[in-house]
């Protein structure tokens, strides 16, 4: 049985349709890298799974339960946590307060403030600092820690490397490594193809709101993904057909 199933999902921003007929299943323990160019619909898809965007049609199923009528604040109680693009921390609150907010859903589990601080040691000395005063890497670690505090079944990570220097991204991924290998089910939206493919067990590439590639990470090369990323596979197909 799939942990998460997406069925014919359509999501629009006003007149613009950002996600078109997307379907896929996610098994427990999978690390799915969701790649694609800007505007491909990755973030919208992730936010729809988290309940922040309502789909115009299609279904999001968690353990076969339809989440259509479940608002975002209840989806986290069901086990879906999103680390949003741009971190979206509460800047007037401290690291500890942000982490405690992650407990709002009331889900019980192994994640606590101490465990988050052990997983992200750079946050330890900054525990009582307001998050608005943190570096980008510290903010990202806080955002991931906040999501982990809800003890999620599925962790949705949206552009964790966005706006961070390569050195800081290395550090964040090093800290994520234990999480990635611990069996947590993860959907990772990432612009950095090499990095996404290095940590994922499966790769989905989106183009103009549609899935154009869905394969196990071991079965794709960077060239495959690059072709799908830029729509070159479609252009090649059209040329051969003509």
């Amino acid at each position: 049985m799939s942990l998460l199933s997406i069925r014919d999902l359509d999501v629009s921003h006003g007149l613009l349709q950002a996600v078109r007929g997307v379907s896929f299943d996610l098994a427990k323990g999978e690390v799915l890298a969701l790649v694609g160019a800007n505007g491909a619909g990755k973030t919208t898809l992730l936010r729809s799974i988290a309940g922040a965007h309502l789909p115009s049609s299609g279904r999001v199923l968690l353990n076969d339960e339809d989440l259509a009528a479940v608002p975002s604040h209840k989806r986290i109680a069901k086990g879906i946590a999103l680390v949003p693009e741009g971190r979206r921390l509460f800047s007037q609150m401290t690291v500890e307060e942000n982490l405690l907010l992650g407990k709002s859903s009331g889900r019980k589990g192994e994640w606590s403030i101490d465990r988050v601080l052990d997983a992200f040691p750079n946050l330890k000395p900054r525990r009582h600092a307001k998050t608005g005063h943190l570096s980008g890497g510290e903010q990202q670690a806080t955002a991931i820690g906040r999501a982990l505090m809800s003890n999620p079944d599925i962790l949705l990570l949206d552009e964790v490397s966005l706006g961070l220097s390569p050195l800081v991204v290395d550090r964040v991924y090093a800290q994520l490594q234990a999480l990635l290998t611990s069996g947590t089910t993860i959907v990772l939206v990432e612009q950095d193809l090499a990095r996404a493919m290095s940590v994922a067990s499966r790769v989905i590439c989106m183009l103009e709101g549609r899935i154009v590639l869905d394969r196990p990470a071991a079965a794709v090369t960077r060239e495959h993904v690059t072709q799908a990323y830029f729509g070159l596979h479609r252009a090649a197909g059209e040329r051969s057909a003509s």
Binding site: A50, G51, A52, P71, S72, H73, K74, I76, A77, L82, P84, R88, F90, S91, Q92, M93, E97, L100, L101, G102, K103, S104, S105, G106, R146, A147, S150
Partner: protein
Amino acid sequence: MINTLLQGILLGGYYAVIACGLSFMFSVMRIINLAHGSLAVAAAYGLWLLAAKFGIPPFAGLLIVLPVMAAIGWLLQRFILERSARGGTLLPILTTFGLSIVIDNLLFEQFGADTRSLAPFIGNLSYASWQLPGHIFVGKLAVMMMVTAILILGGLQFFLSRFALGRAIRATAEDPDTAGLVGIDARRVNAVATAITMVTVGIAGAFLGMRATFSAYAGGPQLLFAFEAAVIGGAGSLWGTLAGGIVLGLAQSLGAQLHPQGFLIGGHAMFLLVLFVRLSRFGMPVLDKFGASLKLRARLRSPT
């Protein structure tokens, strides 16, 4: 002069009590509740009714009125403010303006034009005072109002910073969309915040009735005082509200010393002066630098 300053400072306690709800609601939901004063007057009438008809003293009556006010706040948010807030920032202002007219006229229909007071039901508290050396008199009720203001503001500050619900209120105030993504039900949090606001409004109504007379249409001036104190102290800042109340009370007391009609004018003049200095950010860099050098905003900042 010392007497005047002291009375002004203590009067600020009442203004802080009535303004803190207005400020709290604005900081959490970005709603300016123009029915704030009318709701305070309604609470005062509730206490008067309990005292005059059922013999329940006002302080005991608060045990009934405050939960009722909290329930009114919850319902107000769920059925009126939440819906009107979906229509943009202007609609809640118009809605609460309409609500104030409805409340005022319902009170007028029920209680008529006669002025009422809770003073007869609290013994000599409304006029009793302590005499200090130097012929200085300190009103017991005024001290009680100031202490209550400090307790309310301190309690709110403690609640917002130490309790999970308080943190949820602050998170919702800062970013309601992200609050939903971390598992906070923004609708529930806003309803709780409005209920808390209405409790403070109920306390303000009690003090209004104890320190002065009130009538069905007394809500307008109370709203104005609350608004002035909140703006002077920095809308959305809890301790700033206390500072704003004290500044307003001082300005009114000093105005009354200068001219018999100067009580209200003094307060309004101070309000306009503060507003002028704040708006001068957009056109008078000298005043802006002066304000920045005092670091007033940082000093008065609250968790909200």
